[in-house]
């Protein structure tokens, strides 16, 4: 998230490749965030392991495509929204399916709010 934020901060100027790198970072965030929230605090069951690799590969291809400005202009925002919304949904799934992990989830939620609210 750190790199995405700093690239996003300079992206409006279109300088230092900031806008392109922000798009690339958005596509890289998507599998990393979903994977993290899939396995944290306790892994959920993945029906097929190759699905995870496939998802990483698709996002990596989209990130590379962004370097050449191939995807539609605003598509990266969808990737970012999916990363955020998907993470929230996965945390909800953990909350309801893993009651023993709710304390850890409360910590994550508190940390997130501390960063997001300001």
């Amino acid at each position: 998230m750190g790199l995405w934020l700093i690239f996003g901060s300079i992206s409006a100027w279109h300088l230092l490749e900031g806008a392109i790198l922000m798009h690339v970072a958005a596509w890289l965030l998507l599998p990393v965030y979903l994977h993290l929230h899939w396995v944290f605090p306790k892994p959920l069951r993945l029906p097929q392991k190759w699905l995870g690799y496939f998802f990483y590969a698709v996002c990596l291809l989209l990130a590379i495509a962004e370097l050449f400005q191939i995807p539609p202009r605003g598509l990266y925002a969808l990737g970012f929204l999916l990363a955020m919304a998907g993470s929230a949904v996965l945390l909800g799934v953990h909350f309801f399916r893993q009651p023993d992990q709710r304390r850890d989830l409360a910590l994550v939620l508190t940390a997130t709010l501390l960063v997001v609210i300001p």
């Binding site: 998230m1 750190g2 790199l3 995405w4 934020l5 700093i6 690239f7 996003g8 901060s9 300079i10 992206s11 409006a12 100027w13 279109h14 300088l15 230092l16 490749e17 900031g18 806008a19 392109i20 798009h23 970072a25 890289l28 965030l29 990393v32 965030y33 994977h35 993290l36 396995v39 944290f40 400005q69 202009r73 940390a111 960063v115």
Partner: protein, 163 residues
Amino acid sequence: MKKDLTNRWNVSELLLSLSVLFVLLFFTYGIFGYAPYIGFRFNPPDGKILAVYIQGKNEPTLKEGDVLVRVGANSLDDYHADNRLAFFKGVKPGDTINVVVNRNGTELAIPWVIPGFNQLEFNIRFFNIWWLAYIFWAVGFAAQLLLRPKNSTLRRLFIAAFT
């Protein structure tokens, strides 16, 4: 042997976090030192001028609510079509750029003099979200240094914080 591998992994993790910090510092310099101070701020999606920090000495001058049509040789559509096209790349204080805006349905050509560093524009840049990047970096770095056991979930956590 196992300890050697662990040490190497720790060193590469440390290099990763230091590299990310270097990128953050480089782009922070980009925000404050490299991006020119143009004297106004516009909304990139629609080109609307949101604030004018330094009033031009001659009329016509830019006003809040104007909509950018063209800056120099590049139109707003060119800017939208190419994420590498910068309106103000390489301009220096005192340079005059021809800015065409739409004001209440009328196009106006405005010779805009780049003012250079000014406190208002600096403040807008400073009181923005760039510093959150360092918070995320610090969280990732702290996780790297302090949290144990160092497993794949922990590594995903600090990679997520860095990315």
